[in-house]
Amino acid sequence: MENNNILLKMTNISKTFPGVKALSNVDFTVNRGEVMGLLGENGAGKSTLIKIITGYYRRDSGSGEYLFDGKPVNPTNTLAAQKLGISTIFQELNLSPLMSIAENIYLGNQPLKNGIINWKKMNEDAKKAMLDLGIDVDVSKPINSVSTAIQQMTAIARAISTDAKLIIMDEATSSLDNNEVNTLFDVIRKLKAKGISVIFVTHKLDEVYRICDRGTILKDGKFVVCKPMSELPKLDLISYMLGRDAREIVNKKKVYNKEIQENETYYEARNIRKTNCRLNGINIHIKKGEVVGLAGLLGSGRTELAKVIFGDDQKYIGYTFLNGIAVKFRSPHDAVKNKLAFCSEDRKAEGIFPYMSVEDNITMPQVGKLSKFGLISRRKQKKITERYISKLSIKTPSSKTQIRDLSGGNQQKVIFSRWLAMEPDMIILDEPTRGIDVGAKGEIENIISSIAKQGISILYISSENDELVRNCDRVVVLYEGKNVKELVGEEISSESIMAAIAAGKS
């Protein structure tokens, strides 16, 4: 007798891509009305498994069994999966860029009247669906004109608008702030109460404990373990994910070096204001070899400030100094020439070249330097690439693989490598660990501290306070476009940062 409580049962699933075995003999089960966490390092095969469930990829022929609702199924495209009752938010947001928010929610399921699309009802429904998610927005706006968070919410609204039995969320919270995550969790709880199952993929482990009932862990395309979250303490979880003892990572602490505060100032910005009031007189300086964290809520001006520093935004008033000399960057190019680098939070806009190799993506800005008589030195290119592939442990079949075939987190590492390869004097990191697994996070943090030791200045923007605590020599807290507090060395803790933000509010 089959257990009637099981909604999805996959046994012995394998998937081979040219050069990679992304999944080998994976078992995966989801019960009705359960939130199942699907966990693992970057490149562990989470997204691949999801794409097999949704019919976007086909599993290797002859491998395993796929039961949904007690019946063997084999969806050959996403539409077939949707008809079975599977609705998905893909990691690389599946939205149609030129269409409105409303259409993106209902494309393929538009409300009809006399057989034709009822635009009025569609817009009203969409408005309501977004309000339910706590977003008040003009739903007739094209999706490419709104923020990533709203796009994310649109994808979520789309996923829950269909009559699904299983909703899959592949890193759906990566660009949401705390409030938005809370709203989403409320929604998930409601879905659960209705008996709908959710597969939840994330690299933010605290979220896993807050929302998931059970967790399935994959490593290198293999099934590791599936346990209720209550029997899976954090240390075990991370150890399972990394396949090694995780204590060093969890217990890592920043070693403060007081002498850094005596270094000369590398960069300084004085009284930066913007006419749109997003920045209201910010003062900030960064010493040589110092890691300065920028904390604050979404919209507190962190990214705006980064853009000003990097010359991506000239519409500001105020003074900026490099090594004590007044400068004004007229473009990002100008900033790069002065050895600044900016690793932005938005991977797509940042310009990965999806159809080019990992190698080309890393060395792109340097082809000039690597060339002789107009010919690129492939050997040098390869050397640099291989150095970063091993330094950041980028998981890729080879340096010639197209970057779009890498897992999301590994793409992020490639972008990070590109900036490091330029050997900058100062690097601005805007949410550098978004979508990156705990292990790689540790590696990136190690790299940050090692390049800081070489005298490179770092401006570190993050919404995750514990990250700032682990990495920064000094944290500047922004609130509504002003710096409201500065914490140095031992003063930095999650609590002190929170307190500073809260104090700014009052």
Binding site: T78, L98, M99, L107
Partner: protein
């Protein structure tokens, strides 16, 4: 006050629809230069629009291909082959002629769609292949000679030459306008229509959004073939013969008309009625040159080329302006808030 408002929105509308503006400009130019010779509806404008409609019917198909981010270079040749097949079969029986003609369009359109969606061949290349094949067949069937329409084919002749509403609207123009209305409706109010835009906007995303990308592509190219066949049948009536060398080079004129009509070369957006003004505009250029009689006919290509570049330029400019306006609105909103 009210007047001013409508004036303003009118101007804004025209600004956003370069093709209409261009057509009006051409008409003004024609009127100034040739006066009543040009303005004579029955003797001149009627003909210009009829010719434009003939091109425009296949233009609709090409335009749909643009929406999904594709191109169809085969329409002209398919229309020519259709006309040969239609003339040949009509001389036995008109119904055979029409069915055979539509069959040609269906088969070639389907081949285009199948090759493009199934084997992921670039539309440009695939339709270039069918173009050569269709043209080859057309020339082969009667050893390069045209096939005249004989007795008993009055119906086809009528489609090409007669008019409705007391000679106000030619049948080709009526067909063109009905088709535009039909496709405007489909594009706006059906799942199929919206899916076309989704495929053009971002194919991978569309696939993840449960759009059947391959089926949509197949359908669009098949429709394009069918529309080319309709054009071909009407053309047979117009020429009183099946003409294997007809419509040579039309695909380029049509693509120019599509872009001038305001369809983005990137796909994923646009309105189908733009093609109407696009083709009418292109035909006005050739009309003005013909009326003069001394200007070299090559000027038509040169002018169309220049206008095409202008259209591309305005497209880029409008996108840029839209962003600017959005930016300013955002700023004003923030200022109002603070």
């Amino acid at each position: 006050m009210n007047n001013k408002l409508t004036m303003k929105s009118m101007l804004g509308f025209l600004q956003g629809n370069t093709a209409i503006l261009a057509v009006l400009a051409m008409m003004a130019l024609g009127t100034v230069t040739y006066g009543s010779t040009f303005l004579n509806y029955g003797k001149n404008i009627y003909n210009v629009i009829r010719m434009a409609s003939l091109i425009g019917i296949m233009g609709i198909g090409v335009n749909l291909c643009f929406f999904i981010g594709g191109r169809d270079l085969s329409v002209g040749a398919v229309a020519a082959l259709t006309s040969v097949v239609t003339a040949y079969l009509s001389n036995y029986n008109v119904i055979f002629g029409i069915i055979g003609g539509l069959g040609v369009g269906l088969v070639f359109g389907f081949i285009n769609g199948y090759v493009i969606s199934r084997f992921k061949v670039q539309p440009f290349i695939a339709t270039l292949g069918t173009q050569l094949a269709a043209r080859g067949f057309a020339l082969l069937i009667n050893n390069e000679y045209s096939i005249p329409l004989l007795e008993g084919t009055e119906f086809i002749k009528k489609i090409g030459n007669e008019s409705i509403l007391n000679g106000l609207v030619s049948i080709p123009t009526a067909v063109f306008i009905i088709l535009i209305a039909l496709f405007s409706f489909i594009l706006k109010y059906t799942h199929f229509g919206r899916s076309i835009y989704a495929v053009g906007g971002n194919e991978e995303a569309a696939e993840m959004m449960c759009v059947r990308v391959k089926a949509i592509k197949l359908a669009v190219f098949t429709i394009s073939g069918l529309l080319a066949a309709i054009s071909g049948i009407i053309l047979t009536g117009r020429l009183n013969a099946g003409q294997p060398t007809a419509c040579e080079g039309w695909e380029m004129t049509i693509m120019a008309a599509v872009v001038i009509g305001g369809t983005s070369v990137r796909g994923g957006s646009g309105k189908i009625w733009g093609i109407f003004f696009g083709v009418v505009f292109v035909q006005f250029i050739s009309n003005l040159i013909n009326l003069n009689g001394r200007i070299s006919a090559y000027w038509q290509d040169i002018l169309t080329g220049i206008i095409l570049l202008l259209a591309l330029f305005t497209q880029a400019y409008q996108t840029w302006r839209k962003e600017k306006v959005a930016e300013r609105r955002e700023l004003e909103k923030q200022l109002a808030n603070s």
